[in-house]
Symmetry: C2
Subunit: 338 residues, 2 copies
C-alpha cells in the first residue's frame, strides 16, 4: 500500500536545503512512499539534486507562496497566512490527498492550525505533543511537551491513553508501562491535580506503574511518562541545555593542548558511538497526538538525517493506524470509567 | 571570628563514614571553624581517624539517639523523633549555640523541622530550596527546587529577591541577573501565574531579564533562575538522570573492545578535567532559603568531598550574613511595591 506524506518544505531553521534532500533519501529507501512537497516551488526544484529523475515520479511539487515565520504568533499565522506551506500541507491531509504531514516549522502555529483544520478525536479535549527520548534501558516516551499548560487530571488521563496506544502500536509492546511525572514516588507527593490524575489512571486497564521522578525519564523506568506540557517542556529544554553544556565542555577539554587533541582523535570512535547511541536526531519527530490525522513536528534545527527520521515516523504511524487505535481505546476507557 | 556549624552526622545515604571525615577535612582547612557533630557518639568516634587529636579541640560530639530515615514522612519525623540528630542540630542553631546547620538527611523532614523550629523571615511566606548548577558560562542558581508546589506570583517574587540577595552576597555580583523559567521567552507565553509574577518582579529594583527557557539554565543566561518547586525539582532530577545516562553510555563505549579501552586510558585526563569542571559534587549544598537562620541541605548521596562543599557553603553564608541581608531586602521591596 502506498503512503502519501505532505511535507512542509519551508519550515524549520533551514527550509528546502534540509527538507528536500531528506525527502529524496526517504523516497530512495521506501518504494511505497509518495511525497507532496509544499512550498515555493522554484526553491524546491533548486534543491532537488540532478540525476535523481527516477524519484521524481513519486514526488509532487505543490506551490505555496507564504511561509510561517518561526517566531510568528499562531493566531497571526492562521489569520494572515492561508497560503502558507504549513497550512497547505495540513489541508492536503484534511482533503485525504495525503495520509499525514510533517513540518519543522513554528510549533505553536502548527498545533493551532492542525487543531483547527483536522480537529481532535472524539473524547480528546486537547491534542498533546509526544516524543521518544533515549534512556539507559532502550528509550522512553514523554508527553505533553508543551501544547498544554495547567492540564486537568482528565487531560492527563487522556495523555496516558494516547501515549500508551502510540507505543503499543509503533513499538510492538503489548502493554506499555505508564508513569506520572512527580516530585517523589510516594502516594502523598505532589499536587492535588497529580494525585487525582493518578486515581483516574489507576482505574483503567492501562499498565500504570505509579509516580516517576525526573531521573526516571532517562533511566527508562516506564515506556510512557505523562506530565503537563509546562513541565514536559521544561524537562526537554533543560535536557537540551545540559547536553549542549557537556558537549561543549568535552570539546574544550580535548582542544586544550597537543596531548588532549591527540587523545581526542584516539577516543573519537568511542565518542562517536556514544553520540550515535544517544543522538537526539535519531529521536527526531514529535507526534501531535489526539488529532484525527497524523501530524509530525520535526525539531526546527533538524538536519537532513533528523528530518528523515521525522518523515519515517509519520509513515510508521500511518501504517500502524495510530489515530484509529487511539479513537477505539479512548471510547473503551470512557466506557470503563463510566 | 569563629563560625560554629552544627552537623547532622547521621543524615544521608552513608552517615558518619562520610560526614565525619568531611568535618575533619573542613577543620584542617579552616582554623576559624568549630563543629558540633550530632548523632550516635560511639559511631561518630569510631569514624574519627586516629592521629587527628589537634582538630578534636574544635569539635564537640553531641549525642542524639534517633535518626530520621530517608523515606520517613516529615510529620512523623517531627512528632516521633524529637531526639533525632537532625532535630538536635537545628535546635542548636535556634539556641544560638551554632551559627548554621548542615544535613544530608531527608529533605522534607529537614525543611519541615527547620521551618517549625527556626521560623521564616518576616515577609517570607514559605522558605525555598536554592542551589548552584554548572553552566557553559560560569554557573547559575535555581530556585525553588522542590519545597513548594503551585507557588503564587507573590511567592515567586520572594524567591527572586532571596536568590538575588544570596548571589549578590556569596558571589560578589553587584546586581545579579534574574529570570523566570517559562516555556518561551515571549511575553505572551506561559500561565497567568507566571505572567503575574513577571509583572511583580519587573516593578522592583531587581535586575530582571525576563523569561528563560529550560536550556537557559545550563547556558547560564542569568545568575538566578526562578520557578515553582515542582518545575525546579523536575528540571534538577531530569538533569541528574541525563547526566547518569551519558556517563553510563560513555563508560560502556570505552569498555567495548581493546582499542576503545586503550582509547579510554588515553582520553582519561581530558575526561577527568571535564568531569571535574561540571562535577555536581562541587555544587553540593542547597540552601533552605527564607529561614531566620542558615540551613544547608547536602545531597543524600554525597561523598566526603561533596559534603565538605556543603559545610563550606554554610560557613560562607554565615560569614556573608545572608539571612540578615535577605530580611533587609525583603522589607525594602515590600516598601517599593507598597
Amino acid at each position: 500500500m502506498i503512503t502519501t506524506i505532505a511535507v512542509d518544505a519551508m519550515g524549520g531553521d533551514f527550509g528546502p536545503p534540509v527538507t528536500v534532500p531528506a525527502v529524496l533519501h526517504c523516497l530512495q529507501h521506501n518504494l511505497k512512499l509518495q511525497i507532496i512537497l509544499v512550498g515555493r516551488t522554484p526553491e524546491l526544484h533548486a534543491c532537488w539534486p540532478a540525476r535523481h529523475e527516477l524519484e521524481l515520479q513519486r514526488v509532487e511539487f505543490l506551490h505555496a507562496e507564504q511561509v510561517v515565520e518561526m517566531n510568528e504568533a499562531p493566531a497571526q499565522a492562521m489569520r494572515a497566512k492561508k497560503d502558507s506551506s504549513m497550512r497547505v500541507a495540513i489541508n492536503l491531509v484534511q482533503e485525504s490527498r495525503a495520509d499525514a504531514c510533517v513540518s519543522a516549522g513554528n510549533t505553536g502555529a502548527l498545533m493551532a492550525t492542525a487543531r483547527y483544520v483536522l480537529k481532535t478525536l472524539p473524547g480528546i479535549d486537547r491534542p498533546a505533543i509526544i516524543s521518544s527520548l533515549p534512556a539507559i534501558k532502550g528509550h522512553t516516551h514523554l508527553l505533553d511537551l508543551g501544547a498544554n499548560i495547567d492540564s486537568s487530571p482528565e487531560q492527563l488521563l487522556q495523555f496516558a491513553i494516547m501515549g500508551s496506544v502510540l507505543v503499543k502500536a509503533t513499538e510492538d509492546i503489548a502493554a506499555p508501562t505508564v508513569g506520572l511525572l512527580n516530585i517523589g514516588v510516594e502516594d502523598i507527593k505532589g499536587s492535588e491535580s497529580i494525585k487525582a490524575a493518578a486515581r483516574l489512571i489507576r482505574n483503567t486497564s492501562l499498565n500504570y506503574q505509579g509516580f516517576v521522578e525526573g531521573d526516571g525519564i532517562y533511566h527508562g523506568v516506564v515506556d510512557v511518562v505523562v506530565c503537563d506540557g509546562f513541565i514536559g517542556n521544561v524537562a526537554l529544554k533543560t535536557s537540551e541545555g545540559l547536553a549542549q553544556m557537556i558537549r561543549r565542555s568535552l570539546h574544550q577539554e580535548f582542544k586544550r593542548n597537543w596531548y588532549t587533541r591527540l587523545a581526542g582523535l584516539v577516543a573519537m570512535p568511542a565518542l562517536t558511538a556514544m553520540k550515535r547511541r544517544i543522538d537526539h536526531r535519531r529521536h527526531n519527530g514529535a507526534t501531535l497526538i489526539g488529532l484525527r490525522k497524523t501530524v509530525i513536528k520535526s525539531h526546527g534545527g533538524a538536519d537532513t538525517l533528523a528530518f528523515q527520521y521525522a518523515i519515517n515516523k509519520a509513515v510508521a504511524e500511518v501504517d500502524r493506524q495510530v489515530t484509529d487505535l487511539i479513537q477505539n481505546e479512548i471510547q473503551q476507557v470512557l466506557q470503563e470509567t463510566g
